[in-house]
């Protein structure tokens, strides 16, 4: 919790700034709409956190989200009764992709940057090879309910987000979280003290895949089917995690801060829109803020060693 304080403070400032310009934001409906929009990125950031804190990268989540949405649309094809089995299949696919990423990274000792980059190419190629270049089919109402519907006032996506957040925080407090952080901090020391480091990393990748599957279910319902459903999400998720003060290279940072980082990023987008900064320049402002935020973090903690390597395998 203490680690999450700086980013939570920044988040509060941004939320207050949004509320000043747009008072509707203070009403439950307005705030819940914001949470609903932010949910997929926050869930992805939670998944990405597990991978980053264990010292690895997952670049495949963006194309995994796209692939999941396209698979769902093609298999459901408007058929209401197919919803439940396809949902189960999406979860399995997410876990499976994570498993492959994790096993290739740990057992074949390929840097995760490359493994997940390869996975990105394979997923985006394979899914469009299967559908012939463009998404086909349609999602059912039952499927779209998760992204757009709600239980009374509460959107389903916010409930799912709360559940994912609770599980993530619980996992990081359990033994698993401690071994994962130890693994990311120093693989060799963790292995020598009896941590099954390979297994911890494989689980981390599987959580990231699972998070991508859940995010895809929400995004598919919220935004519909498109070939660009997950475009750029891998970089957004990594940025969110790093904004939360989690160190690339592993071993430092909390999952709560990572999720707060994703909220901050989403609040930043909302704020830039409200202030009418034109679509494209938004990226410029975003770039400056990301660099500034990470630089500020590095300066505040001068004694902490910040690896400057492309990958944690530098350590081995």
């Amino acid at each position: 919790m203490r680690r999450a304080l700086p980013i939570l403070a920044v988040l509060m400032v941004l939320l207050a700034a949004i509320a000043v310009v747009n008072p509707f934001f203070l009403e439950p409906a307005g705030f819940l709409a914001f949470l609903k929009r932010a949910a997929p990125l926050v869930i992805l950031a939670a998944g990405q956190y597990f991978v980053i804190v264990s010292g690895e990268f997952d670049l495949s989540v963006g194309s995994l989200v796209t692939a999941e949405v396209v698979i769902a649309a093609r298999l459901i094809d408007g058929d209401e009764s197919a919803t439940a089995p396809v949902l189960a299949l999406l979860i399995v696919v997410g876990l499976l992709v994570g498993l492959v990423n994790g096993v290739v990274t740990t057992k074949l000792r390929v840097p995760s940057f490359i493994v997940t980059l390869g996975m990105l190419l394979v997923l985006s190629g394979a899914v469009f090879l299967w559908t012939g270049g463009a998404p086909r089919g349609a999602l059912s109402q039952g499927f779209r309910m998760f992204g757009r519907g709600g239980l009374g006032l509460l959107p389903w996506s916010v409930l799912i987000l709360l559940a994912v957040g609770a599980v993530a925080i619980w996992l990081m407090r359990a033994d698993f979280g401690k071994t994962l952080i130890a693994t990311g901090d120093n693989v060799r020391a963790a292995a020598l003290s009896g941590v099954r480091v390979d297994r911890a990393k494989i689980f981390a990748f599987m959580f990231s895949g699972l998070a991508a599957a859940v995010a895809a279910i929400l995004l598919g319902g919220f935004a519909g089917v498109s070939a660009q459903a997950g475009q750029g999400l891998e970089f957004s998720a990594i940025t969110a995690v790093v904004l939360g003060g989690v160190v690339l290279g592993g071993g430092r940072g909390s999952v709560l801060a990572a999720m707060a980082g994703a909220f901050t990023l989403e609040a930043l987008f909302t704020l830039l829109n409200l202030y009418g900064i034109s679509g494209a320049l938004e990226f410029t402002v975003q770039g400056v803020i990301i660099i500034a935020a990470v630089a500020a973090g590095a300066i505040r903690l001068p004694r902490k060693f910040t690896p400057r390597r492309g990958d944690a395998h530098a350590a081995s």
Partner: protein, 337 residues
């Protein structure tokens, strides 16, 4: 460790070179053997399909297809060898093509100022990348991602489509060839030779390997590591600028999407790693990268000639990259550390 000692005593050049060559031989050999194998397989597959593989047309095509990626990948090699990486090259290529075409405005006389402006802007972007990484202590991944967002915002804000005009004389850079060798491929070869010379024959080259091998050890040995990292980022960005010039020459205009459509950021990193350079830095070289880029281009050509769906190409590409790096990792274990 030996490498570092040599880096500090460049007087013993002969021995240093032998050592370095031995160090680089392994993965480079692998990638060129794989290239030969792929050409043979391609030949067989295309022949079975009732066509001819290595025609003049396809050889020229392979070279042209790989020239732009090849130049970017050489810059990326320098950054990765020093333990860094550059995700901003794709948007920088778009920016460079636009700056070149806008300044040229179809006039032959404007070619020189345009080229100078592109090189200056690229160097500036590289300088910013390097200074953010070293001065502000931001991880290269985030620093160059942030810089790429900044460039993307500016480019998308100012342009919605192709702009400017490249004069006929400069378009020759994109298309003309001498015998079977396109001018663009010669430019690539030129950049590769310069980078090879830099890495294997100069002090800066040794320092790049030293910093990539272990930054802390390099710093303690008296290398100004920050300066080395800034320099490799400037060189990497200048390479991206040259690739932008080449693509502007080929398109006849500048385009805001030319860099991202080509996926030059992740693709150049993939080519470097395919060529046997370690992503963590300190090991590898330019020759491997050239092999890696050619391998990707030959793969493209085989897929085009067999008229296989381009999405299948991405699948094969992804698998090939991962397998190649897995093979290098396996070889690494057998060698005593």
């Amino acid at each position: 460790m030996n490498l570092l000692v040599r880096g500090r005593r460049p007087a013993r050049r002969g021995e240093a070179h032998g050592g370095l060559a031995a160090r680089l031989r392994e993965p480079t050999q692998v990638v060129f053997l794989a290239l030969l194998g792929l050409v043979a397989v391609g030949w067989a597959l295309v022949a079975l399909d009732g066509d001819q593989f290595l025609t003049m047309e396809s050889v020229v095509g392979i070279q042209q297809r790989s020239a732009a990626l090849g130049i970017v990948a050489i810059g990326q090699t320098l950054a990765i060898l020093a333990g860094s990486l550059d995700l901003s090259v794709a948007y920088l290529i778009s920016l460079a093509s636009l700056v070149a075409a806008e300044i040229m405005a179809g006039q032959d006389g404007n070619v020189v100022p345009a080229v100078a402006a592109v090189l200056a802007i690229s160097a500036l972007v590289g300088l910013v990348n390097g200074l953010v990484i070293t001065g502000l202590q931001v991880h290269a991944f985030i620093a160059t991602l942030g810089v790429s967002l900044i460039i993307k915002g500016i480019v998308d804000h100012l342009y919605d489509g192709p702009a400017g005009k490249v004069p006929e004389s400069f378009q020759l850079l994109g298309y003309s060839r001498i015998g079977p060798i396109p001018v663009s491929a010669m430019l690539w070869a030129g950049v590769a030779v310069v980078a090879w010379f830099l890495l294997s024959r100069t002090r800066l080259g040794y320092r790049i390997y030293a910093v990539g091998g272990d930054e802390e050890v390099a710093r303690l040995s008296g290398i100004r590591t920050g300066r080395v990292i800034v320099i490799v980022h400037v060189l990497c960005s200048v390479c991206a600028g040259i690739a932008g010039l080449l693509l502007a020459g080929r398109l006849g205009a500048g385009a805001p999407t030319v860099g991202t459509d080509g996926g030059y950021d992740l693709e150049s990193i993939a080519a470097v790693v395919l060529g046997g350079t370690a992503l963590a830095g300190g090991k590898g070289g330019v020759a491997g990268t050239v092999g890696g880029v050619l391998l990707l281009a030959v793969l493209d050509t085989i897929f085009n000639q067999l008229e296989i769906n381009s999405f299948g190409k991405d699948v094969v590409r992804g698998v090939v990259i991962v397998i190649a790096v897995a093979v290098y990792a396996r070889r690494g274990t057998r060698r005593p550390a």
